[in-house]
């Protein structure tokens, strides 16, 4: 089955090895006989988000994020509609922040967001940096997610909003709440890079499953051996336990 993927602003948002996440989608789909068709989007280009089964947006440096923020904010309504219709979405770091309601800088300036995730991000004094381990429950699929975080923003979820997971070790959304990321239906936002998906194949397959369901197929994916993935996950999780923030 063909899975249509929109990769938002890859020339601007690619700081924490975002192409690793795309490589994982691509290979894990191919190994199951599916095909990924990736469309890269630049600012100003036309895009109908609901025409895609999966949307990916990564992180950038402050300067690059500022350059694309207005373009992304203008697409907010269309992206929300796509996720409502079952399009899967993964947003990492800067992309996660910009898909919230907005980002307030230390100088008081505000950068409006796309409004998909019910949160607001405020610049903090000290960057939250280090290995992270989360406990995640994806509709009954309980697993751990390991990654690396590096963000100055404190992301504050609205009351009742669903985080991606509980922080076992590391800082998480704001360094104090004990939660990390945000989940809205088939959309996941997170600060975790490393990149996120190679060492977290369960999460990769959950997203691919949602995308397949949107494409009109079954969301069942046959298991892969994943020995190296488990090894990398274990090392990364150990790093978080021994030296994660907080």
């Amino acid at each position: 089955m063909k899975i249509r993927v929109a990769h938002l602003y890859p020339d601007y948002l690619n700081i924490y090895a975002d192409r690793g996440n795309i490589a994982v989608f691509e290979r894990r789909a191919t190994l199951r006989g599916h095909e990924l068709e990736i469309t890269s989007l630049a600012p100003g280009e036309r895009l109908e988000p609901s025409a895609f089964d999966l949307i990916y947006i990564g992180g950038g440096q402050d300067r690059e994020q500022t350059l694309i923020a207005p373009d992304l904010a203008a697409r907010g309504e269309a992206i929300c509609k796509a996720v409502d219709g079952g399009t899967a979405l993964l947003a990492v770091c800067g992309g996660y922040q910009l898909l919230g309601r907005g980002y307030r800088g230390r100088d008081g300036s505000t950068m409006p967001g796309a409004g998909l995730f019910p949160h607001e991000t405020i610049a903090g004094d000290k960057r939250l940096i280090g290995d992270v381990l989360l406990e995640v429950d994806l509709d009954g699929l309980v697993t751990t997610v390991a990654g690396f975080e590096n963000h100055a923003g404190r992301t504050l979820l609205d009351a009742g909003a669903a985080p991606l997971g509980r922080v076992v070790a590391g800082h998480g959304n704001d360094g104090t709440s004990g939660y990390e990321g945000c989940r809205v239906g088939t959309a996941i936002g997170t600060y975790l890079h490393g990149p996120l998906l190679p060492r977290n194949p369960v999460l990769a397959d959950w997203l691919l499953g949602q995308a397949l369901a949107h494409a009109g197929g079954s969301d069942e994916l046959e298991p892969l051996p994943d020995e190296l993935e488990r090894l990398a996950h274990a090392v990364s999780a150990g790093r978080a336990r021994s030296r994660g923030g907080r």
Binding site: R19, A23, Q61, V235
Partner: protein
Amino acid sequence: MRLTVETSAARLVGRVSRAAGCGGGTTLPGKLLWKVDPAAVDALAARLPSGVALVSATNGKTTTSAMIARILGPRYRLAWNNSGANLASGIASTLLSTPSADLGLLEVDEFALPEVMRRVQPRVVALGNLFRDQLDRYGELEHIAERWREAVSGLSPTSTLVVNADDPLVADLAEGRARALRYGLDDPRLARSGLQHAADSKYCVRCGGPYSYAAAYVGHLGDYRCPACGHSRPPLDVAARSIDLEALDASAFDLVTPAGTARVRLPLPGLYNVYNALAATATALALDASLDEIVAGLGSFTAAFGRFERIKAGDQQILMLLIKNPAGANEAVRTLEEGGVPETLLIALNDRIADGRDVSWIWDVDFEPLLREARRIIVSGERAAELALRFTYAGFSPSQLEVIPGLREALDRGLDLTPVGGELGVLPTYTAMLDLRAIAVSRGLVRPFWEETA
């Protein structure tokens, strides 16, 4: 009075740490001095009759400093931190251990540069490039550039600022400055077909529009121009033209300088080393070297340890190339491509502070040419499994891949797989390189770095 007491105490620590065999003893005395009396560094620098030259960059500062040392060695007695100890404490140690030097030649960590500049009041500052590197430690490029901008604004107008004109962020630091030397490459035949994946400063420093490149040489370094506002690479004072890359052996080029033009044969591979040679040339010129001295120094240069090194291991050879960030690793890959990729490669990834704790950068490196050519790859180091994922998700066959986290075992296995007379390609991150080199030292293959001279 205080200086004398503290410095003899600190010098003693250095001797003790070397005698105790805990490796070089390079920064312990400086750490002590830095703790007890940081202002002593100002006084130590001020007593150097010919002043101080500083070299900083994401990539190439060790090699550039070594080239300058080669050029100026006959002219000056140097206080040079050739062990790579480039934080304030390492610089304090170097100044302490060379009381009779004429000239300070110091490579400086990008983050430490502003404080070091304030303290040593340099005569020349050479700034090479800014690439994404250890974002967990250094933060974003713009922040480093901002710190550098502030430091440069405090630089004495009689000091010379050397900048790489091919790096937009770095070149901009010399904007409007009278005493500045700008260097760059001028040979579009050697440009890459496009910007690489990890290219960083590709948006105009003035207006934010994307640059268009007449030639992109290494990462985002090149001959750039913004079609929107017209901001472009400044004219070059020091340039390399008609460059011939001779595979893994050397590069030859016309060195164009305000003091004239000469043909140079640099016995090091890679365009990035031509950049280092240009930075060394501009710095040496600012320190009164003649073009003849520069040509002679560059022509007789040997690589800084571990950056590019051939180590004989019985009837085999180890070819070691340091990898530490996407831009540097891309150039190591390009060097191997041009010289022929060894059949067996050992690639080692550690995640200690000096390597960067965040290992995501390996996904930004274009390893693909190696994956196409290598017959077998051994991944090693503390994060070997991450490298294994990087390569298998790129399509490298798991049957050609071995995961051996222990460096000693990985090196043995690599040499087992390398035929007699053959070469094992080794690409380690910084601390893996130090460990591998220590293994080579323990086997009598190389001397420890603190006994080496350039």
